[in-house]
Symmetry: C2
Subunit: 530 residues, 2 copies
């Protein structure tokens, strides 16, 4: 059976373009790094569709470059954080993730990681102050009469602002560690036996001991999350002058736009207001600039390899970059390397370094044979979209976990950034390029990605507009938000039922023993009398 997907896709776009609503008024909460990159296609599409979009922009930001003229309004706010503070923090974090953590044991890594998260929180709360404690900014937000707040929950307080302004809100969300926010605040169930927590590096098929690790991973991260959220609980409670919590307000989100899909994710339970829109930023490849196209064509039948460690990592040590350059020199493909660091001494003629590459267009080029990636979700989705096998060199956050997913699905191999030697990378590239199973697997994922009733960007926009049209989406929100944890798991009911059973059992035992004693005594008396 043939697949006529092009028409389907075309109409799917048309569906959203024509199923219009009169211009809504959207407030976008600030985001940073790849989270901002991922938000942009959504807000660009909202602008295309005639909505007014206002973005909250802090004084210090590394990615939210709104100095160049954009089609959306920005509302600036001040914090005590400078761009240098941000740079220093991220540099320290990257140094830890890229090099230092390599020499630590699991417990040390874990403690250090939560130290970073804790420091993150201090930054985040300054952002919150910048918006919520500035009467001028809050006045503007009130005057703005927004229909919706759109937020990536990497930064907190969107839910607090929504509560104060009385505006519905939608999250666009990649993940929280061990799905803690999605589970505990969003009420989305995740049985540890087959739905492992994000960053656990487990798959959905687990041995007994992997299931032990899965449960422990959930328990330890939940404990840590509850501890970290205490800071937010206090902030929110103080701000609203009534007892509340981070989770309570997060749980009021109308829709959670989860930025994965079943091409990438292991199948798992979801809730009706969790909409999986992974890969919404992907689009068909555009023709390359002439110089790049010429370099691609010079590769002949061998084709090209694309290498990028993402938007965050600008630099490597000389030793690491030399190892990587040496590996690329040993393969027959031409290599496009996106890199802002110093050019390695041993760069081979088949490898060219660029400050920036049109990654999506390169991955969509028919001559692309493999993608060497840090494993960020955005890049992984571009590889899935275009059907390119991957070699992962994951570094931080969810990247290793993402590569575990791709490896489990047969679309990638991955290496350890710190220990990899040139030959490892050469072998990995040869494997994914020459073993046809990798191409077949990633093409299967690509078919899953494309073959769905509505395209992810269209579905995201549909639900954003739905919430604006209907002032919320309460009909999708589960009633368990009003239960506490032991009520949710029916533990109080179980205790009650077991108590009743025990009581009945006790009464039966006592009655029986009483009757037995009576029966046994009587003959004695009788015999005495006799």
């Amino acid at each position: 059976m043939k697949l006529k997907l092009s028409l389907l896709s075309l109409l799917s776009v048309a569906l959203v373009i024509l199923g219009n609503v009169d211009g809504g008024n959207v407030l976008v909460w600030p985001a940073e790094g790849s989270h901002w990159i991922n938000l942009k296609p959504v807000i660009e599409t909202l602008t295309d569709r005639g909505h007014s979009v206002t973005i909250l922009v802090p004084n210090a930001t590394l990615y939210m470059d709104t100095r160049k003229p954009e089609r959306f309004n920005s509302l600036r706010f001040n914090t005590s954080i400078s761009e240098k503070d941000l740079d220093d923090f991220f540099e320290e974090f990257l140094q830890f993730e890229m090099y230092e953590s390599h020499q630590m044991n699991v417990l040390q890594k874990y403690v250090k990681f939560y130290e970073f998260l804790s420091k993150d929180q201090d930054f985040f709360l300054q952002y919150c102050d910048g918006v919520l404690k500035s009467p001028a900014v809050m006045d503007k937000l009130r005057e703005g009469k927004f229909d919706l707040i759109l937020a990536d929950p990497l930064l907190p307080c969107a839910e607090l602002a929504a509560e104060v302004l009385g505006v519905p809100f939608i999250f666009t969300f990649r993940f929280s560690v061990a799905h803690a926010v999605e589970r505990m605040c969003g009420q989305s169930p995740a049985p540890p036996s087959y739905a492992p927590g994000i960053m656990s590096k487990l798959t959905d098929k687990m041995s007994f001991f992997e299931r032990v690790v899965s449960l422990l991973f959930y328990l330890t991260n939940d404990a840590m999350s509850v501890r970290l959220w205490k800071t937010y609980d206090d902030y929110y409670t103080e701000y609203l002058s009534r007892p509340t919590s981070y989770c309570e307000l997060m749980g009021k989100a109308d829709i959670w736009l989860i930025r994965t899909y079943w091409d990438f994710e292991y199948p798992r339970p979801l809730l009706p207001n969790f909409i999986y829109v992974g890969g919404l930023h992907c689009r068909p490849a555009k023709p390359l600039p002439q110089d790049l196209e010429e370099f691609v064509q010079s590769s002949g039948d061998d084709g090209i390899v694309v290498f990028s460690l993402g938007s965050f990592i600008r630099n490597l040590t000389k030793e690491r970059s030399n190892v990587i350059a040496s590996a690329f020199g040993q393969i027959p493909q031409k290599v496009f390397w996106k890199y802002l660091g110093e050019k390695p001494d041993n760069l081979a003629p088949n490898t060219r370094i660029y400050d920036w590459i049109p990654q999506n267009d390169l991955l969509g080029h028919p001559k692309t044979r493999a993608f060497v990636t840090h494993g960020g979700t955005n890049g992984v989705y571009e590889a899935i979209y275009h059907g390119v096998p991957m070699v992962g060199i994951p570094i931080f956050a969810d990247q290793t976990d993402n590569m575990v997913h791709m490896k489990a699905k047969g679309a990638a191999v991955f290496l350890n950034f710190n220990s990899l030697q040139a030959q490892d990378l050469v072998d990995a590239l040869k494997t994914v390029i020459n073993d046809p199973s990798y191409k077949e697997s990633v093409m299967r994922l690509s078919r899953i990605h494309h073959d769905r009733p509505v395209k992810p960007l269209d579905e995201a926009v549909f639900w954003i507009e739905y919430v604006m049209r209907n002032k919320g989406a309460g009909h999708l929100r589960v009633a368990s938000h009003s239960l506490n944890w032991y009520q949710y798991h029916s533990l109080d009911v179980l205790v009650f039922l077991i108590s009743i059973l025990a009581l009945v059992f006790y009464i039966i035992i006592r009655t029986c023993s009483f009757l037995i004693r009576r029966c046994c005594r009587t003959p004695k008396h009788k015999s005495k009398r006799e």
Copy 2:
């Protein structure tokens, strides 16, 4: 903000019409009653889209009237059941549900209900024999080279046939009692604390004692289901000559097309391969035949009431029909009553009885003020689609539970069929017609029903074609199918972890007590020496 939904709907249809696949080959498992009525729009649409559809039709059937020329092929098979057997069974069942059960206590009803289910099974296994144990029919099924089996799991063995033929299969499913099949075979989670079992008559907002009832309802029905399924387990195991079970084979379904949606259902967890397509049979109202339209118009501003007890119930006792007729005589509306029984003596001039009514077109008429219904899902969905408040007179199966849903959502009141008096029905009708909250609530449900990214029929067809295009939809199937119940709930892991903890605790206690004993003894020796 205005809603331009008509264009959206139009394109949504176009999406499916044009996103075509070359003709697939679909085998439809037999169904009966409203289940057959519900299957028809799907298979009609599949035929419209160029697929070849073959329906398995037993020698005895009450609803699958394939004698009149249809556009799909039928493949007849024989069973030892006659139409009279079916009629007798259903008559006995209806007598029980309509009149006898009214005088029983809960336990008696429960036992009798499971007796009927058990008798049902005997019929069902004769259908299975008719197909699976007939070499001629099985040869035809093998020669048919089907791409897909589409089945309503009311009748078993579709999953067994799919296993034997090596063909993927899709369920189109309203419910099993307490979601037993969906939960235990389909692995779809349902926390008893807020996702009550179907037929429990509970809502998603429960008091402590309702949560006790919810858990007990699940536990007792699960025990009963496991007992009933044992018959199928044995049949399947014997047929395949290897140990297997009903649930194991049911769990291999690629897609479960669940025939409700969040307009009707309380929000609850779902799995990626559970697609909610409730109301797929609904369509815009067509103009009425002239005589009906004239009767409608004669109602003036008061409008009309539509009354039907569904396709199953043909007759009422004289006493019950008189009570109902008397109530209708007391309201200002004109009444359309679909009824095959004897005309009540006291039928008022405002009420007309019909053998058949174009129910969907009547409910879609702007003069319709209320729908008096037995509460079957098909009728409830037509009322939601057209936004008509309901008065329920539920009789059997999920009907009371359906009306509990509609009452909880503010779109209906409902009455007890056996005890209702004329004044109760008059009051109920006046309430839903004159209290605007009922119309507002059902219009809210109607908006939820219509305002979704893809129309339910289109979504059902999309996934049917998806499975044919891709020979399955394994990427949506959770890995928990390979876990048993204690592994699923991580109980083995918990026992292991608690054992480790207990052991560590034991060793610490023993070590401490040993050290304490040593410390305490030494001074004694010393003191002796001294």
